[in-house]
Symmetry: C2
C-alpha cells in the first residue's frame, strides 16, 4: 500500500468527457482538492459540433461553462489557462498564468486533428474539433454560397459549390449528410439564383467502407443513406494534396473546391514533459490498467490521449466518448478506494455500441445485442445524444431546435459571424 497523505492537490488538464466524469465521481470528497485547467471556459459536446457547423444549432447549445457544471462542488476550482509543460520532477505545471503544483495529475487533453505530415492539408483544410472551428466552418460554407452567386465564371461557381469531406468516421459522415440536407432543403429556397444541382458534396475515404469502426451492415446502410441524399461517396481513395483551390487524389485526379473538411485522423494532444518511452507512436500516453502513465507514480491519462495497451487491446481503446467517460469513472472510484485503503480495480471497457446519423430518419446503430438502421435508429440517436448533453438547459435548447428543424426542414442559424478564414488553429 502506498503512503499517501490527504488532502491531495489533484490537477486535471482538459475538461472533456473523461475529466467531467472523474470530477463528478469525486464530488463531496474533500480529500481531493481539484483544479481543472482548460484553455476554454466551457465543456464542448463534440458529437454535435457538425450541427453547429451546418447551422442547425447555436454554439450555446453544445457548450456549457465548467464553473456552472460544478457550481456546488466545494472541492472544485477552475483555471482558464494553457499548459505549456509538465515538470514531473517538481510536480508542477508551467502554464501561461504561472506555475501550478500538483500532488496527482490527470491528463485529459483529448485529441487533435492528425494531418499525417501533409503540410498543405494542414494549412488549407478545415477541422471540426472545437466550437471556434465549427463556427469557422459554418461561416465559410455560407460564404462559399455568396461567392458562388457573385461570380459569373461557371467553373469557379462549381468550385465554390464543391464541398469535400475527407474521412468517413462519424464526423465526416454526419457532416456530409448535413451538407446534403442543406442542399436539398435550404439551397433551392434561399438561393433561387443558384442552380442547386451545382452543389456537390463529396465524401472521400481511403478505406473500403464508411464508418469502419461499425458493422458491415452499418457501413452499407450509411453508404446507401448518403447516396440517397445525393452525396458522392469515394471509397478506396487516398488524398494527396489540397492547395486551397483543388484537392488531388492518389490517382492524380483533381477536383476543384474551396472547402475541404479533414476528418480523416486524430492524434492525442500531448504536452511536453512526459518522457518519450511513455508515448505510443508519438501520439498517446501509454497507461496501465488503472490509467497511470507508464513510468510515473502520480500522473494519469484518460480518454483519447491515453493508450491502454493490453493483450486484448493492442492498440488501446477507440477514441470515443464512452471510453473517456468510463475511464474517468473508474479512475475516480480507484482514487477513492486508494484513499480508503481499499482495493483498486483495473479498467474494463463496457462497449455500449456506436451510432451515427446521416440525416432525417436516417441513422445507423450497432448495439452489442442488435443492429438497426433508419427512422428508429435516428430516434434512438437523438434520444441518446439529448440525454448525454451535460446540462438540462442544453437539453431543452437542443430539443427545441431539433423540433423546430424537424417540422420546418430548416437550418436557421445560417449566420456568417466570423471573418472568412481558411482555418482556425484551436
Amino acid at each position: 500500500m502506498e503512503t499517501d497523505s490527504y488532502p491531495k492537490r489533484l490537477v486535471l488538464i482538459g475538461g472533456g468527457f473523461g475529466n467531467i466524469q472523474l470530477i463528478k465521481r469525486l464530488k463531496n470528497y474533500s480529500s481531493f482538492q481539484i483544479t481543472l485547467i482548460d484553455k476554454h471556459n466551457y465543456h464542448t459536446f463534440q458529437p454535435l459540433l457538425y450541427q453547429v457547423a451546418s447551422g442547425g444549432l447555436g454554439s450555446d447549445a453544445v457548450a456549457y461553462p465548467y464553473r456552472k457544471i460544478f457550481r456546488n462542488y466545494k472541492n472544485f476550482n477552475f483555471r482558464l489557462a494553457e499548459v505549456q509543460e509538465i515538470d514531473t520532477e517538481k510536480n508542477m505545471l508551467l502554464t501561461n498564468i504561472g506555475p501550478v503544483e500538483y500532488d496527482e495529475l490527470v491528463i485529459g487533453t483529448g485529441s487533435e486533428t492528425n494531418f499525417y505530415g501533409m503540410e498543405n492539408m494542414a494549412k488549407w483544410a478545415m477541422e471540426l474539433k472545437s466550437i471556434p472551428q465549427a463556427l469557422d466552418l459554418r461561416s465559410n460554407i455560407l460564404q462559399e454560397f455568396e461567392e458562388a452567386i457573385n461570380t459569373v465564371n461557371m467553373g469557379e461557381r462549381k468550385a465554390y459549390l464543391n464541398f469535400v469531406v475527407v474521412g468517413a468516421g462519424p464526423t465526416g459522415v454526419e457532416t456530409a449528410g448535413a451538407l446534403a440536407e442543406f442542399k436539398k432543403h435550404v439551397l433551392p429556397f434561399d438561393y433561387p439564383e443558384l442552380d442547386h444541382n451545382l452543389m456537390q458534396v463529396h465524401l472521400v475515404e481511403a478505406g473500403s467502407r464508411l464508418m469502419p469502426a461499425m458493422s458491415e451492415i452499418a457501413s452499407a446502410k450509411t453508404k446507401e443513406f448518403l447516396e440517397e441524399l445525393g452525396v458522392k461517396v469515394w471509397l478506396n481513395t487516398a488524398v494527396k494534396d489540397f492547395d486551397g483551390k483543388a484537392i488531388t487524389f492518389g490517382d492524380g485526379t483533381a477536383l476543384e473546391t474551396r472547402t475541404v473538411l479533414w476528418s480523416a485522423g486524430v492524434k492525442g494532444s500531448l504536452i511536453s514533459g512526459i518522457k518519450e518511452d511513455a508515448i505510443l507512436r508519438k501520439s498517446r500516453y501509454l497507461v496501465d490498467e488503472t490509467n497511470k502513465v507508464k513510468g510515473y507514480d502520480n500522473i494519469y491519462a484518460i480518454g483519447d490521449v491515453a493508450a491502454m495497451v493490453t493483450d486484448k487491446t493492442p492498440n488501446g481503446h477507440p477514441g470515443v466518448a464512452q471510453v473517456a467517460i468510463q475511464q474517468g469513472d473508474r479512475l475516480g472510484k480507484n482514487m477513492i478506494a486508494r484513499m480508503l485503503g481499499r482495493k483498486q480495480n483495473p479498467f474494463q471497457y463496457n462497449d455500449l455500441g456506436s451510432m451515427a446519423t446521416i440525416g432525417r430518419n436516417r441513422a445507423v446503430v450497432d448495439l452489442p445485442f442488435i443492429k438497426f438502421q433508419g427512422r428508429i435508429a435516428w430516434l434512438a440517436w437523438m434520444f441518446i445524444h439529448l440525454m448525454t448533453l451535460v446540462s438540462f438547459r442544453n437539453r431543452v435548447i437542443v430539443f427545441v431546435n431539433w423540433m423546430w428543424n424537424y417540422f420546418t426542414y430548416e437550418r436557421s442559424i445560417r449566420l456568417i459571424i466570423r471573418p472568412f478564414t481558411t482555418k482556425t488553429k484551436d
Copy 2:
C-alpha cells in the same frame, strides 16, 4: 408627376429595421426589383444585443438570415458586400464585389458609435452595435473574472472587476443592469474564490439624468432600480480619457478598470459619394418629408442615418427602431403610390412610446397615454420585444431562454468563444 419607367432596380444598403419593413411593404410588386446589400448575411435585433453580451442569449437568438426572411419574395435579391462609394452620376455603387447599378437607392446604413474625436476611447473602449461586438464584450467580461482570480495583487483584482458603462441611454442602462444581476446571481456561486463585493458596476452619464429621452419619472425610477441592484450611478460626469487601464473623468478623478463600454453617442454610418450639403453635422443625410436625400432625385435615406429636419423636428427624429420602421413603411407606400400615379404622403412619426429594462421585474415604460414602472413594465417590455423579433423561430428561442433564465436566475451562455481583444471594429 415624374416620368418613371418600371420595373425599377431598387437597391437598398443595410438590412436594419427600416429596409426590412420597406421590403415587406413591396412584397409581390414586381415593378420593384429589390437588391439588399449588407456586410452581414443576417438582420441583427439590436435591442437585445446587451443580453448576448451578458450571457442571457446566444447570438442565434437575435440574428436572422436575410435570405430566410425574404425566402418567398420573388422580387428580392441579397448581396453580401460592403459598399465603398456611391457614384451618383452613374447611378452606381462601388462595392467589394464589383459595381452595382441602381435606378433608385435607399440608404439604411444605420448608426455607428460616435467617440467625438476621443482617440484613446475609440481605441480602448468596447462598443455594442453588432453581434461580433456583443460576443467580444461577453468574452472580455468573462475573461476579466478569470484574470481577477489569477492575480494576487488586490489593486489589480479590483481593476479587473470594475466595469464602467458610459452613456445612460437604453444600451448603457440595460447593460449596467445586466452586469449588476450577473454580480448578484452568478458571481457568488460560480466564482466562490472571488469576493463578489469587489465587482463594481459604474454607469457614467454626462447629463443630469438617466434615460434622457424618457420622462422624468422614468429617469428617476431607472436610477432607483439601478441603485437597488448595486450600480454606482455617476450623473453630470464627463469622461475625459481611457487608456485601457484607467478611465479619467472631467474633474480629473481616475478609476482603474479594464472594461469600458462606450454607449454615449452614435452617428450615422455615412458612405462617401453624397455631397456635403446633404449631410447634417457630418453625421446624417438630410432628407425631405418623403425621405428623399436633399439634392437627389433617386436617393433615399431612412432610419438612424436620416435627418428629416422640419419645423417640428429641428434635429430630425430620434434614432430608434420605431422611426426606422415607420419610415420604411411610409417610403414603401409612397413608392407604390408613385408607381400607380397616386399621391404620396409625407412621413408622420407616430411616437408609440419608449421603454427600457433594468433587470428582473424592473423596467420603465413611457406610453403616450400612461407611464409605468416595475414588474408590469417588465412584462410589457418582454412582450413587445418578443413580438418585434423578426422571426417566429427567434421568438421561440428567446422565450425559452427567458423562461429558463427567469426560473433559474441564470445567464448560462457564459462562453469565452472569441479571443481576448480590446475591441472589434465592425
